[in-house]
Amino acid sequence: MFQVLFERFVKGKVLAVQEFTDLLINSVRHAFTRPRYLVDTLVQMDVIGFGSLAIVLLTGFFTGGVLALQTYRTLSTFGEVGLLGQVVALSMVRELGPVLTALMVAGRNSSGIASEIGSMLVSEQIDAMRALGTDPLRKLVTPRLYATLVTLPLLTILADFCGMLGGAVVSTSTAHLSSAEYWTLAYQALQFEDCFQGLTKPFFFAIIVALVGCYFGLHTTGGTEGVGRSTTRAVVVACVLILVVDFFYTKFLIATGFF
């Protein structure tokens, strides 16, 4: 009995990985063949990108601020308060900016995508789409994927800047650093490797945010209750995957001697 359950569990997970990979390959491929839904892509860029702007900026600003607050306490015991700009800049650009931005966007948009597509599935709108000659992957998944691939890196850049701004506000008000000193050290600390790491991570995260939402939406079962379950699962899985991928990608870059 246990063996049967275990076998079914493993097969289910393997099938999920296979279907997710299939979804990824097809949604990327569809951008290179007609028909292309450019208007839908632009609409999704507005929904995902501009719609997430406020929470990303707020998240970045207060993360940078609290990072400066916490680091100031430690650095002041060693008399190295002047390094605040460096610490905030490196932490935000390498790690906190990309990860927290992706987590915020996943929380807002993976759930939205899953619930929207899941609702369409349970109300037979997806079947209607296929009956009317539309490929749901082309119409629904590919625009969301490319919209997220374009907007998430841009949001990350803005979050990084807001984080450094938040750190600057704390550094000048609490640590009594001069603004020039803070920004000069922040700027000088950043190397090409830091920016490369911080700006390539969002592309992996964008794939996770868009496709996890689409995957759970397209596999919704059980009516409106099922839509709720898909929405929750999409957020949880997307957030966990973001953290896991972040760890392994960072490890990969270190192992390949990139740092």
Partner: protein, 284 residues
């Protein structure tokens, strides 16, 4: 006195001459996660004919419609539309075949984010039509057919159940399909609105000679389609008499499903006069 047969529209005449609008299932079986849904089902719908699919909830009626559209593939048997087996075809190869079919889903399945106009125009745009004037003309024509032209700019959430069903019919017929599939088109509607939907179905069948497959649990609707024909003069249904009486015979057949199998297949008279206890209970 025998009333003359209603003149088919030019579109219906072209369809009859140029195309065989036939749906055929041969020994089709399908199971979902080892639970059998359909078992060795076979039937045939000829050009201009109507097949009414009856059965209790869970007997596989809606699944049959999805098989005919190619939304599902059978585990065994063949699904033929116009003589072509759908099973080996890919999704993109199915699109030209689906263009010949229209489907009305149970709850309408209108796209929530699009207006009535955009819902009906959707298929025309997907088929590559770019002439906006022509799109508007065709959309207005079908909405006028279903008496919903006044609701062009409304969103689906603003429509009643019956109105959504009518818009769904308009969306399905905008490209003049030869085969119409109806999945419980009157489910959840009051008798007056249900009658309106039946008139539209009969109008399409009798004026445009569309082949129809109607899934329903409502015997009253099934009998209405079998015993009545659309009258343009009276803008409604009039009784059909058999054996050369008033009106003309409506080619309607019944298929009753039970536990995924074709339990009964035959004409209206055969169904109403059957001595089978299950069918007598079903028809009671």
């Amino acid at each position: 006195m025998t009333l003359p047969e209603a003149e088919p529209s030019p579109r219906a005449r072209d369809r009859r001459e140029g195309q065989t609008a036939v749906v055929e299932l041969r020994h089709v079986s399908l199971a979902f996660e080892e639970k059998p849904v359909l078992n060795d089902v076979s039937f045939r719908v000829g050009a201009g004919e109507t097949l009414v699919l009856l059965g209790v909830t869970g007997s596989g009626k809606s699944v049959l419609l999805k098989l005919i559209l190619g939304l599902l593939k059978p585990d065994a048997g063949q699904v033929l539309v116009g003589g072509q087996d759908l099973a080996p075809l890919s999704e993109s190869q199915l699109y030209p075949i689906r263009q010949r079919m229209g489907i009305v889903f149970q709850e309408g399945a209108l796209f929530d984010s699009l207006s009535v106009y955009e819902n009906v125009a959707y298929r025309l745009r997907e088929e590559g039509l770019k002439d906006e004037a022509r799109i508007e003309r065709q959309v207005r024509e079908v909405l006028r057919f279903v008496e919903m032209e006044h609701a062009l700019e409304k969103m689906p959430a603003e429509l009643s159940g019956g109105m959504r069903r009518r818009v769904s019919i308009a969306r399905a017929i905008v490209n003049e399909p030869a085969i119409m599939l109806y999945d419980s088109p009157t489910a959840g509607l009051d008798p007056v609105t249900a009658h309106t939907i039946n008139i539209l179905i009969a109008k399409l069948r009798d004026v445009q000679n569309v082949s129809s497959l109607v899934v329903t649990q409502r015997l009253a609707d099934a009998y209405a389609l079998a015993h009545f024909t659309y009258s343009a003069e009276q803008q409604g249904l009039v009784a059909v008499a058999s054996d050369g009486g008033l009106g003309r015979r409506v080619p309607t057949h019944f298929l009753v499903l039970r536990d995924g199998t074709a339990y009964f297949s035959g004409s209206t008279d055969e169904l109403t006069s059957t001595p089978d206890p299950y069918l007598r209970k079903f028809l009671a």
